[in-house]
C-alpha cells in the first residue's frame, strides 16, 4: 500500500507518452494568408519495426487536393516522433500546413 503513489506515478509516466520533434522546414510565406490548408500522414510502429517510409509519399497530393485550382505557399512541414510506450508502441507523424493562394481574376 505504501508503494501505491510510486506505482501510480510510474503508470502515469508510462501511459502519458512523449512527442519528439525530428524536423521542421518552411517555404516563403505569401501575403495572401486567408485560406490555410493542412494535410498529415501517420504511421504506428509496433516494436519499432518499420520497413518503408512510403506513408509520406501521398502528402503532396493530399495537400494539393485541398486547393485544386491554386497554389499552396508558405508550407510548414513538421515531423514528429511519438512514443506511447517504451519499445512497444511508437508512431511517426508528418504534418504539412500552408496557405492556398488562388489566381487573381483578370482585371
Amino acid at each position: 500500500m505504501k508503494h501505491l503513489p510510486i506505482r501510480a506515478l510510474w503508470l502515469a509516466v508510462a501511459l502519458s507518452g512523449c512527442v519528439h520533434m525530428h524536423s521542421v522546414s518552411t517555404t516563403s510565406v505569401p501575403i495572401e494568408r486567408s485560406e490555410p490548408v493542412e494535410a498529415s500522414t501517420y504511421r504506428f510502429f509496433f516494436l519499432l519495426l518499420n520497413f518503408d517510409n512510403n506513408y509520406v509519399d501521398q502528402l503532396t497530393e493530399d495537400l494539393a487536393q485541398k486547393c485544386p485550382d491554386g497554389s499552396i505557399e508558405g508550407i510548414l512541414t513538421k515531423q514528429e516522433g511519438i512514443m506511447y510506450f517504451p519499445l512497444i508502441a511508437h508512431a511517426s507523424r508528418v504534418t504539412a500546413t500552408g496557405y492556398c493562394v488562388r489566381p487573381k481574376a483578370a482585371e
Binding site: 525530428h22 524536423s23 522546414s25 517555404t27 516563403s28 516494436l47 519499432l48 519495426l49 518499420n50 520497413f51 518503408d52 517510409n53 509520406v56 509519399d57 502528402l59 503532396t60 497530393e61 495537400l63 494539393a64 487536393q65 486547393c67 485544386p68 485550382d69 491554386g70 497554389s71 499552396i72 505557399e73 508550407i75 512541414t77 515531423q79 511517426s92 508528418v94 504539412a96 500552408g98
Partner: protein, 173 residues
C-alpha cells in the same frame, strides 16, 4: 507434425477460467523471439530523418507526371561493428584494444548528423542532373525531399529521396 506441436506447447489448466489453455513453454517462446529478432534484423528497418515539402502548384501535382529520384550510399554502424569485434576479440584478450580503437574512430565523427557515417557525402550532389533528366521542361512542383536510412546489421543504406511532379510544357505554371 501434430506430435511435435504437442511437445512444444504444454496444455495447462487455468482454474479461474475453468478451461484448458495452451501456453507455450520457455524454449519455444525463446525460439519464437529469436526468429522474430532475426527476421527484423535481416529485413532492415526504415528510419525517417527529415521530410521537407516544397511549394505546390496544385494543377501540376494533380495532373502532371509523378517522378521519384533516389540516391544512396553505404553507411557504417561503428557501434555495432565495435560490439561484434569486441565479442570476437574477447576470445583472444584483445577486447580493450578494439574498444579503444572504436573510441578513437568516434572522435573523428563528431557533430550533428543523420544516420550512420558514409565514406563519401557527395553522393547526393547529382540529384540536380537527375531532376533535369526526369523533367526536361524544368517545370517541377510539389517537390518532397526525404532523408531516410535503411538499417541492416553493421551497414545501412543512407538514402536521399526526392518525389516531384513534372508539368508538361503547355500546362506550365
Amino acid at each position: 507434425m501434430k506430435a511435435n506441436l504437442q511437445h512444444q506447447f504444454r496444455i495447462r489448466y487455468i482454474p479461474l477460467l475453468g478451461s484448458p489453455m495452451r501456453i507455450p513453454n520457455r524454449r519455444s517462446l525463446l525460439r519464437c523471439c529469436g526468429c522474430t529478432l532475426l527476421w527484423g534484423a535481416l529485413s532492415g528497418c526504415a528510419v525517417l530523418h527529415t521530410t521537407q515539402v516544397g511549394e505546390i502548384h496544385s494543377p501540376t501535382v494533380l495532373q502532371g507526371k509523378r517522378f521519384e529520384i533516389k540516391v544512396s550510399n553505404i553507411g557504417f554502424d561503428l557501434d555495432t561493428a565495435v560490439a561484434i569485434a569486441n565479442a570476437v576479440a574477447r576470445q583472444s584478450d584483445h577486447a580493450d584494444t578494439v574498444g579503444a580503437a572504436g573510441e578513437i574512430i568516434k572522435l573523428f565523427q563528431t557533430g550533428p548528423r543523420t544516420g550512420n557515417p558514409v565514406f563519401r557525402d557527395d553522393y547526393s550532389d547529382r540529384v540536380f542532373e537527375m531532376l533535369r533528366a526526369e523533367c526536361p521542361s524544368g517545370r517541377i512542383s510539389g517537390l518532397v525531399s526525404i532523408r531516410e536510412t535503411a538499417k541492416y546489421p553493421v551497414v545501412s543504406g543512407e538514402i536521399v529521396k526526392l518525389i516531384g511532379y513534372c508539368a508538361p510544357e503547355e500546362d506550365a505554371p
